[in-house]
Symmetry: D2
Subunit: 193 residues, 4 copies
Amino acid sequence: MTQSSEPSIAVLFHSGYGHTAAVAQHVANGAGAGARLVTIDAEGNLTDEDWQALDAADAIVFGAPTYMGNVSWQFKKVADATSGRWMAGAWKDKIFGGFTNSASPSGDKQVSLIAMQTLASQHGGIWISLGIPPANQKASSHDDLNHLGGSVGAMIRSPADAAVEEIFTGDLATAETYGRRIADFAERLRPAA
Amino acid sequence: MTQSSEPSIAVLFHSGYGHTAAVAQHVANGAGAGARLVTIDAEGNLTDEDWQALDAADAIVFGAPTYMGNVSWQFKKVADATSGRWMAGAWKDKIFGGFTNSASPSGDKQVSLIAMQTLASQHGGIWISLGIPPANQKASSHDDLNHLGGSVGAMIRSPADAAVEEIFTGDLATAETYGRRIADFAERLRPAA
Amino acid sequence: MTQSSEPSIAVLFHSGYGHTAAVAQHVANGAGAGARLVTIDAEGNLTDEDWQALDAADAIVFGAPTYMGNVSWQFKKVADATSGRWMAGAWKDKIFGGFTNSASPSGDKQVSLIAMQTLASQHGGIWISLGIPPANQKASSHDDLNHLGGSVGAMIRSPADAAVEEIFTGDLATAETYGRRIADFAERLRPAA
Amino acid sequence: MTQSSEPSIAVLFHSGYGHTAAVAQHVANGAGAGARLVTIDAEGNLTDEDWQALDAADAIVFGAPTYMGNVSWQFKKVADATSGRWMAGAWKDKIFGGFTNSASPSGDKQVSLIAMQTLASQHGGIWISLGIPPANQKASSHDDLNHLGGSVGAMIRSPADAAVEEIFTGDLATAETYGRRIADFAERLRPAA
């Protein structure tokens, strides 16, 4: 991998209705010039170019909606498709993070984050936690950073009747801050030129 | 165990600052005349009478605050003290449920519920899920039943600066409804007289 | 649902290479005359008749290989396809259990079981733990019941180079015992005729 | 923190019967000259000097037996006692890893690792996965590295009737290899002198 000016961050996500895509964009915004969106399609597939981007990335940030208490099947299909890379150790020591969106404040999002974190560990990866203190006072609102109080990764809440444009500003800012954090660690962990 | 008119439900809980105790009382209220609070003290201990109540109970509902992403150590100390009963299979087929409280909407409460559910499984138990749909619309509020969107058990949120009297009405109603549900299953699963 | 002589148990599974299918058959054998295999195909789909069998079942036992630290995507696709039933509460109070197979003794199988258990909770279900003590002495072998020491559900180990016929006898017996246990609880929880 | 020749690795562990202590020693051996054992006593306490060692460490490796499907209460008591440091963000960006021991191959060890990983995330830490491929062939034995097939951290199996001297050589070698890996990342992530 050639040493460019910015670490390369792939935001690998599936979005069912556009909310997770919007969050992914904010993670990428935070991650800087080396960030790239890698979009899993409705059938759980990626292009060859997408796979090359994942292979070349210093860090991969997983994103998926939480459906029925776990990552969406399309995200899982991509996870299963990495088994050859797992066998070869191709992603060993890569940096990982993750975020998930669902309609409830909890909505079993944590199980999705555990699944993402376990996937990263299967690949022998390094996991970057959210690193943002929770906003958990009575006066806290969804305009605050990390108002859901996640720690493993970014938890996003989109009420069942909320349009993409209505995603809470606190959630989008959380996503952006987390993207920046992951890029910072990718920078620190890059092999010397 | 003699067959009384009501199934016996033990609400086994630890409370650091009184919030979890208040929730436990509401679970017990919902569970009816056969319910009994079993309070874990600040050193993680129970009395002999408490242990007898747990042994005799048709169902045990676990309750603990989530501290640092897991059940409080006092709750865990009691869990560890059940190892003799585990070895003897003394609690096999008992009915279990659980609830947890922390300051954030998520706050890694799910890990506590997973730990409680695993403890129940170690004992060869039956787990009763929350069974209440989430209130996850834009207009939903913390006065609604299951406004955090838990499913495994009852998730309660007490903001870091909230007094015991300020626990959300939706959370208390959730606890009560869940207590009733567990008692209903305990009734259905009682051995014939 | 008409009250037949045996509770109806649907063993809902996906199998990549035949091992999980063999285990599913043993769960069904244990569950008795009311048991039925419901096979998820390679594209993660079920037939209409399959869905009707699931809807009518007193209990559903989930089965999936653990791939990359979580249930296979095909299993997850079916889980996601239950969202309409989740919304309608159609499976509320149904009985659930689960099993998973992978090549390592651990292999992150527990994450799959947590995902299955959470799916059951999303539907407002009742989870039946394995209920078999672990065989964890020095002299224990894979011919023993529950030699992996699972508790939430049945953990099966098929080494990476093991044919379907080489699945350990202890694992198959564990599956059968667990199937019987789930059928017993389904019987006890059936509504009166 | 003064920049010494080796990164400082604190192996923070509780051991009930000596097995986890033996494993901790091997993690420390692997981690090199900067490693130090920090022993949680039978009442879940540490000395002031222990706390200073944790604060000063580049990396902390958590170790605990899995009792009743979760970390021992003594380990959890220390976790709870870190809440002041959590509030202050004192351990933010620290490196973490973890290992656990129990009598069964699985024995719900994964829940302990999830709990450790979540604790690390609560502190805003970086988690180093095991990074050792599983030995999961028919001919694999407990003399092999990672013969249980863990990924999140090191899983150790000590049969219920095994003395400390009987811990499997594969498990001890796994612990040592993992210690080295964590020290390597601690070295890479150290601030420049």
